[in-house]
């Protein structure tokens, strides 16, 4: 039972990240590697602010804002300096590593004795029978809020342009709009969500660790691709719903692999091999996977 709750908790936190990846990979068709560093960026910001006594809930929007800035940097490098999409992300990702260390002050910043997003007056007020699920409920609230806002945004004029720029840049240009700016906007929103996921993860584990972002992009891509393949014939399922379900399934697969005798050191290997399996089985590699460097 504990394992299943754990899968849902972490699966739903990574689902917030997957929603960000959904924007860059699926909508903008932009392989954004910034994610590997914007995820720990959110964690670092949330951790250091919590350690310094800020209300954990308030650290979330600030972490998202920091993520937004990292997306802005990648966007500016790509659009204004005309650097390839993949390389722009790599540049920001690499630079952010040092910045994350500076923000947190060290590579590992625990905050075991502090009030967190999951351990405060609100969660302790839950009735006893709900206590085991309290973390899950908090994550669910954050996730549903993000999903709802994103779904609403996609139906606005600005959301239309975002979808259009990934689909057909020419249309956006002939609509007299700067397609570069809209790409930047997409990267900003996506990395804000990724950093938010990182912040929630840090709050749950009560620790920031510099290595927590390694493979984050793989997790996000796997979640989006699983979701897309699962629901490709069901048109009324939204992309956001698919990404969330994909994220939980992927987390369950990783957990299953671990329970079959593999040790936590193997985690990233499992993540990578499972991702490869999904790409091959899903036939996604045949379509346009724009991973050219």
């Amino acid at each position: 039972m504990g394992i299943i709750i754990g899968i849902f908790e972490e699966g739903m936190i990574y689902a917030i990240l997957a929603l960000g990846v959904l924007i860059t990979y699926r909508i903008l068709d932009f392989p954004d590697l910034t994610v590997d560093s914007s995820f720990p960026l959110g964690a670092a910001v949330s951790a250091i602010l919590t350690v310094n006594g800020m209300n954990p809930l308030l650290t979330l929007p600030i972490a998202a804002l920091a993520g937004a800035v990292s997306g802005l940097v990648t966007g500016l490098i790509h659009v204004k300096c005309h650097v390839r999409d993949l390389l722009s992300g790599i540049i920001t990702m690499t630079g952010l590593y040092s910045i994350n260390l500076r923000i947190a002050g060290r590579a590992n910043l625990p905050f075991f004795n502090m009030e967190t997003l999951f351990d405060n007056g609100f969660t302790t007020s839950f009735p006893t029978f709900l206590q085991p699920y309290s973390k899950m409920i908090v994550v669910l609230i954050v996730l549903l809020l993000v999903k709802l806002l994103l779904d609403l945004f996609m139906k606005t004029k600005a959301g239309f342009l975002l979808r259009a720029v990934g689909d057909n840049q020419t249309v956006v240009t002939t609509l007299a709009k700067d397609s570069g700016l809209i790409k930047i906007e997409g990267l900003v929103i996506a990395n804000a969500l990724v950093a938010l996921a990182g912040a929630v993860m840090a709050q749950k584990n009560r620790v920031f660790d510099i290595s927590m972002g390694t493979g984050a992009i793989v997790f996000g891509l796997a979640a989006v691709i699983i979701g897309m393949n699962l629901f490709k014939n069901i048109s009324f399922i939204k992309g956001t719903t698919a990404a969330i379900v994909g994220s939980i399934i992927y987390k369950a697969c990783v957990a299953a692999a671990l329970s079959m005798g593999l040790v936590p050191q193997d985690l990233k290997l499992i993540t990578a091999v499972l991702f490869l399996l999904i790409l091959v089985l899903g036939g996604v590699h045949k379509k346009k996977v724009k991973f050219r460097a």
Partner: protein
């Protein structure tokens, strides 16, 4: 008025493949004129359109729109006054978005794309009416993704979308070339109707000499960056298909085609 004044354009300068396509090229199109442009491959037709729209920069000379010099203005800003339809029907619409969503975007051109509902429900009836005029049954498929439509249907939509808002100039880049003859005819008729209704200053590149003669007020033939034929009004009306074809063949033979 749309004008190219003393424009020069060199491709791959400094290399062995240096190719001077335009040398001090000038063309002026008065308001509300419908110009057909013909010419063999490599004659500079599409390059001319791209220079006008800002898709490629010019090396020398000026581009004027109305009385404004737009030579240094970015492409997306120029499109505030320009509608453009491409040869590839997929270029003018977003395939993953529905007909209604595409129409709504086109309808909002020139306004801000903010955090307000993407589809204005009060306008839906008007979109339906516009689509109905195409006679392709699209008015009943508002929620179908455009990617599921045929090439002809997509091109009709692209044409409709490019002329939905109040633009002054319409650029047509072989927009019937990828369609079957019947659909091409339909798109040409629609083009003519829209151009006349909205008094658009239009530049239409085509490989179909018959369309070039039949439609429009003026015909231009380009060859290696020069205008070799330029007839308007009465003169154009008296031009026979054979004469153009003869001139066209003569040019093509020079090129060794």
């Amino acid at each position: 008025m749309l004008e190219l004044r003393d424009v020069s354009k060199v491709y791959s300068p400094g290399s062995v493949n240096e190719n001077c396509l335009f040398r001090h090229f000038s063309l002026s199109i008065p308001d509300s004129q419908f110009v057909s442009v013909v010419g063999s491959n490599g004659s500079g037709k599409t390059s001319m359109l791209n220079m006008l729209c800002g898709s490629i920069p010019v090396d020398e000379g000026q581009i004027l729109m109305g009385s404004q010099d737009i030579t240094k203005i970015k492409d997306f800003k120029r499109y505030r006054n320009i509608g453009r339809v491409y040869q590839n029907p997929a270029m003018g619409t977003c395939g993953s978005m529905t007909i209604l969503e595409n129409m709504s975007m086109a309808d909002n051109k020139g306004k801000s794309f903010g955090i307000t509902p993407g589809v204005n429900k009060r306008r839906i009836d008007e979109y339906r009416e516009l689509l109905q005029k195409l006679g392709l049954g699209l008015e009943d498929k508002l929620h179908t993704p455009v990617g599921a439509l045929s090439g002809g249907q997509r091109q009709a939509m692209a044409l409709l979308m490019s002329t939905m808002t109040s633009i002054e100039f319409l650029i047509l880049d072989e927009h019937t070339a990828a369609l079957d003859p019947k659909t091409a005819e339909l798109i040409m008729k629609l083009t003519d109707r829209l151009v006349r209704e909205k008094h658009l200053t239009t530049l239409m590149v085509t490989h179909n000499l018959r369309y070039a003669l039949e439609y429009g007020d003026r015909i231009i033939m380009l060859h290696e960056g020069h205008i070799v034929l330029d007839k308007a009004g009465e003169e154009k009306a008296n031009l026979a298909l054979d004469e153009i074809l003869a001139l066209f063949n003569q040019i093509s033979i020079e090129c060794g085609n």
